[in-house]
């Protein structure tokens, strides 16, 4: 059994997979990777299932150490320098972390979240089919909260795949405006709906896995800003009492009492999640049929990761 020890980690570092489904009716958010495409890329490289649990690492410098044997790992997602001692470790390529070696990830330069996948089975126990951490609910495995220094993750059969030497061209995220589908409470906004789609928005530093706050022109509700709570989804854009949007992310409340002007399409959710605080973005409206075509294209992109892997000589 090989293990990975957390030496230092920022607050946004936790084990995540594709999420926990089936318990939203009881108030339990799905959680899961903020950027599924990058998680899937890291997993594909080390030969794990695309949806397997990996370490989601926030933008702050993070240091990890291998114990008890070699680990074959791959990094995907945010652009940042990673090194073992003096050796730079490339992104989107497998490399070995030998017993006692330390892996340092400098602060992210572009994007927010990195994904470190480790070949072999992470030891833990799934709840509702998932290892994903939901810190508020005290759920997640093997550590039911964000990772902290001293935590150790164990991997079974990690050494079996030590010979892996693979790379891939980083998958291309879309560009331009973040695409949304109007509603479900689009009608509550009158003229402010046009303002929402016409204006640039900045992501506030006061953002986390529950929600990203946006700053921009003040929107007004046609009626009351309190509605009788109804269900939320990943990417629900609710407009709170001060006229500013909060985009609900993976650890969202499963129901909410603010009107939701639009919903980010699933294909653009990861790109939005990787947008850094203080960066400016715009939203665009597309119809449901187009959004569902994009969802199918995104699914095809995820699975094309497997074909894009090169075995390096």
């Amino acid at each position: 059994m090989s293990a990975l020890e957390i030496i230092t980690a920022g607050p946004l570092t936790s084990v995540q997979d594709f999420g926990r489904f089936g318990a939203q009716r009881y108030g339990l958010a799905p959680s899961g990777a903020m950027d599924r495409l990058s998680l899937a890329a890291a997993n594909a490289l080390v030969g794990n299932p695309l949806s397997a649990p990996a370490i989601e690492i926030g933008p702050i410098k993070t240091v990890l150490k291998a114990h008890g044997g070699s680990l074959c790992v791959a990094l995907a997602g945010a652009l940042r320098f990673a090194h073992r001692g003096d050796d730079l470790c490339p992104l989107y390529r497998t490399f070995l972390l030998r017993d006692g070696e330390v892996l340092t990830l400098d602060a992210a330069r572009k994007g927010v979240f990195s994904y470190l996948a480790i070949a072999g089975a992470l030891q833990g126990e799934a709840v509702f089919g998932s290892f994903s951490v939901n810190a508020r609910a005290g759920l997640g495995s093997p550590v039911p909260r964000s990772l902290q220094s001293g935590n150790r993750l164990e991997f079974e059969n990690a050494e079996a795949s030590r010979e892996l030497s693979r790379s891939m061209v980083p998958p291309v995220f879309g560009e331009g405006a973040i695409r949304t589908v109007a509603g479900p409470q689009f009608d509550e906004f009158g003229a402010s709906a046009k303002t929402f789609f016409d204006s640039p928005w900045q992501i506030s530093p006061a953002s986390d896995r529950m929600g990203y706050r946006l700053e921009g022109p003040r929107l007004t509700h046609a009626g009351n800003f309190n509605i009788v709570s109804d269900g939320t989804v990943d990417g629900s854009i609710q407009i709170v009492g001060n006229g500013q949007p909060i985009v609900l992310m993976k650890d969202r409340g499963t129901t909410g009492g603010y009107p939701k002007i639009a919903t980010i399409i699933s294909a653009d959710f990861g790109r939005f999640a990787q947008t850094r605080p203080r960066h400016t973005l715009r939203f665009e409206m597309i119809d449901v049929t187009t959004a569902q075509q994009e969802a199918r294209a995104f699914h095809a992109l995820l699975h094309s990761l497997l074909e894009s892997i090169r075995t390096d000589a």
Partner: protein
């Protein structure tokens, strides 16, 4: 025609992977009954591509896989189900929930009683008399919104929410009552605490209460709370299932 057919619900897209079937915008009993009826009909229909549903007071959120099922196709299936789904009462199980009222367990008991010009004992009597229906669970795991509060003790929310309230808090806010499982912020009035965990990750079942179940409260004293609390910590279900 039955009442449920009088107003057709709206089907609203929530992105590309979910939709909401909205029966109303308020907290009417009728809307909630129709939500719960559709929830059950949907479960029985077991439509391929539907992954889960979230019932609320006024709408049913349906999560689905757009690779399997398009928005208009699912809308059609749901419209057909709506014609079959008959709202019925008393669909769930009935739980008796022990509560220790007042003091450190229910910081707002005395002020709420005073606001209504009644004694704390009378407030407890009125709060524990009804058989509440679980309208929905939401926001945090196991947080149960209860319908059926005696209107004579309805109380506007606190102007300043508390940043932290204990696990197991029993509270009222406006015309609603709630049973809160985890510690968390709340602007509602705290009347008491229960040792019952509606969500406990290591227990089977992880979640105790379903939307559509009914709940009655039973007053216990602090010593009984401590005894049941220890049992609950070990994973015992200390709520009594009456039906």
């Amino acid at each position: 025609m039955t009442a449920h057919a009088t107003r057709p619900p709206r089907i609203l897209p929530c992105g590309d992977s979910a939709l909401a079937v909205e029966f109303g915008t308020g907290m009417e009993v009728e809307s909630n009954r129709r939500v719960l009826a559709l929830d059950r009909a949907l479960k029985q229909a077991a439509i391929t591509g539907v992954s889960e549903a979230v019932p609320t007071y006024r709408s049913l959120l349906v999560h689905y896989d757009p690779l399997t099922l398009g928005f208009s196709e699912l809308s059609d299936r749901l419209s057909a189900l709506l014609d079959e789904a008959q709202p019925v009462e008393g669909i769930g199980r009935h739980w008796r929930i022990p509560v220790v009222y007042g003091g450190a367990f229910g910081l707002d008991l005395e002020t709420v009683a005073a606001a209504h010009g009644i004694t704390p004992d009378e407030l407890i009597r009125r709060h524990s008399a009804p058989r509440y229906e679980v309208a929905m669970l939401g926001f945090t795991p196991g947080f149960s919104y209860l319908r059926g509060l005696d209107p004579t003790i309805a109380t506007p929310r606190r102007s300043e929410p508390r940043l932290e309230t204990p696990a197991g808090t029993i509270s009222i806010g406006g015309a609603q009552a709630a049973l809160q499982c985890l510690a968390g912020p709340s602007g509602w009035h705290l009347l008491g605490r229960t040792p019952v965990r509606t969500f406990q990750p290591q227990r089977d079942p992880v979640f105790l209460i379903e939307p559509g179940d009914t709940v009655t409260f039973m007053q216990i004293d602090a010593a009984e709370f401590e005894r049941l609390e220890r049992m609950a910590e070990r994973g015992d279900i200390v709520a009594e299932k009456l039906a």
